[in-house]
Symmetry: C2
Subunit: 336 residues, 2 copies
């Protein structure tokens, strides 16, 4: 690696994140379970298959329209488990607090975690709190790890994605990142726009019950839809072709993107998922998704092909195809 | 709680940590599994009992004699699992890196984690890396969560501690905290003194095989032997009486403590454990411990009694008994 120092882009979910994992992390820790590089690992505990995942949350600002770092920390780990096809069961919570952090803010964050855990039907069973000196952290960082039951009968893996699969998105993209960006710059956005932060496990369970043949699920967080689809295309050795006019983007998000020069495909989401499923199951699946509040705007945005292997293309509204690259770095740091 | 702001002592493992947990965390998250307040939770996954724990590491300095933050992060979580009587199996790793952190330092830390995981026979199976702006963290913070198999046939819980149990310590106390303190103040200590940071699961497995009747195990980290014994006395509704002249403290540690006014009973350890066992098994257990490098200096330091319930007393060398209180705050912040 040419980089001698860590830079923000190493945490972006883009190419530099990949490099860090491939050149520093995997050479040390690499083993068949970690090498899957899924949102969570599937491990065997005395004959039982258990899903296991972790994420740290460093979002700035801590409070934003539609949520706060606590809600994000519960939903993010719940969603990572759900994306492996598991039923999330138990969470751990590790708090790193900065000296001087307001107790009332901690109470609000903890209350949001309680509500999110209740909605997701998970129990917080173990935890840890550390305090560092004033100036040594940015208010609060939260780590959550989670374990879940793997649902037998389904096999969810990027490697199951094949040409002929549809690519479905569960709703509007870019809401979370746009809200964070607005919060950081104290922009006033319409009250209709807020973070989409939500636990998706309830929806996923209904989907897997109706269509156990779902090939893969991913939540497009850091790096957005673009990063997630590039990873899937690479891991499944397929090409992905999106239809620009099919991608649901709110006009408020589109407006902010046009002003600031962002592309919604690269913006983080915290309550959306991408679903890869053989086209013959698409209608059944969409019918199920549309009945759930977190899937009511679900739609097909593209197809998996056997052309341009490892690449993501976008059929634009004016007729051409442009390549949707893996992001190199980061449009917006500390988005989650 | 009278405190409107977080202070360093809230992360000390002492009374203020207890208050934070009891007044902010438990009211929100409280459930029978969390309420046990053990080093880790025991959860049921499809009929299999799984131990689950987490800790974040914020030690300063990052590198010290005998280890670094990475070794600590693996050993600490391995030990928390071992103290519940579980065989540690899988770890997650969440890194929070500060922009500008040296890649070479990260490589060293990751390499130490690899070696510690290898020694402890655990696999790192899932992880996450976040980067925050320069000045928003202190180099690197690491969270590890871990899951393990509960060993059937043993029942390890503070509630099993009864009058008539011996209190055994696995070796010299205070080495870790003294080393960190020296590193922070650039004091020169004898090369013989270094952090005791080590994975204790191998030793615990041999102990439980020989004496499945062990009542409880705890690693006296933050708050030291004093905090751990006070917690045990409270949870088991017993008294504990220590013999001052039986407590193993290296002369180097004793010397530093005398100069700086510290008490070794309150200093953090990262490779030691306290064992509570019916006195009739003590000899068998000590024989097993003495054969293991991490237990070779194990000895009995006190007894569990049915007097002075909830309190820890120390029979001093000059004949009196003094109360060993729960520490209120913190002797040395950011010790782990």
């Amino acid at each position: 690696m040419e980089h001698e120092k860590i830079c923000l882009a190493h945490g972006s979910g883009g190419k530099l994140s990949q490099e860090l994992v491939e050149q520093v992390i995997l050479p040390a820790f690499g083993n068949p379970l970690l090498n899957e590089l899924h949102d969570g690992a599937s491990v065997n505990m005395a004959g039982t298959n258990v899903a296991f995942t972790t994420d740290s949350y460093v979002v700035k600002p801590l409070f934003f329209a539609g949520g706060n770092i606590g809600k994000l920390a519960v939903c993010g780990t719940v969603n990572d488990l759900a994306m492996t096809g598991a039923v999330p069961r138990y969470l751990s919570v590790g708090l790193i607090l900065e000296e001087g952090f307001l107790m009332d803010d901690l109470r609000k964050i903890v209350e949001s975690m309680r509500l999110a855990a209740k909605e997701a039907n998970v129990l917080i069973v173990t935890g840890d709190t550390k305090v560092v000196n004033k100036g040594a952290a940015d208010g609060i960082f939260i780590n959550t790890a989670g374990i879940g039951d793997i649902i037998s009968g389904s096999h969810i893996s990027p490697k199951c994605v094949k040409p002929g699969c549809d690519v479905i998105v569960s709703g509007y993209i870019g809401d979370h990142a746009t809200t964070i960006m607005a919060g950081r710059h104290e922009l006033v956005l319409p009250a209709t726009l807020q973070s989409d932060c939500a636990p998706l496990n309830g929806l996923v369970q209904k989907m897997l019950k109706a269509v156990p043949q779902i090939a893969a699920l991913r939540d497009p967080t850091r790096g957005g839809v673009a990063a997630t689809l590039n990873e899937i295309a690479e891991q499944s050795k397929t090409g992905i072709l999106l239809q620009e006019n099919a991608i649901p983007v709110r006009s408020e998000v589109q407006g902010v993107c046009e002003i600031l020069g962002f592309d919604p495909l690269y913006l983080a989401n915290e309550g959306k998922m991408l679903v890869f499923v053989d086209a013959k199951y698409t209608k059944t699946l969409l019918d199920v998704m549309h009945q759930h509040p977190y899937g009511k705007d679900a739609c097909v945005i593209g197809k998996v092909t056997n052309e341009s292997i490892g690449q993501v293309g976008l059929q634009t509204n004016i007729g051409g195809i442009r390549i949707v690259d893996m992001p190199l770095g980061v449009q917006i740091p500390r988005i989650c």
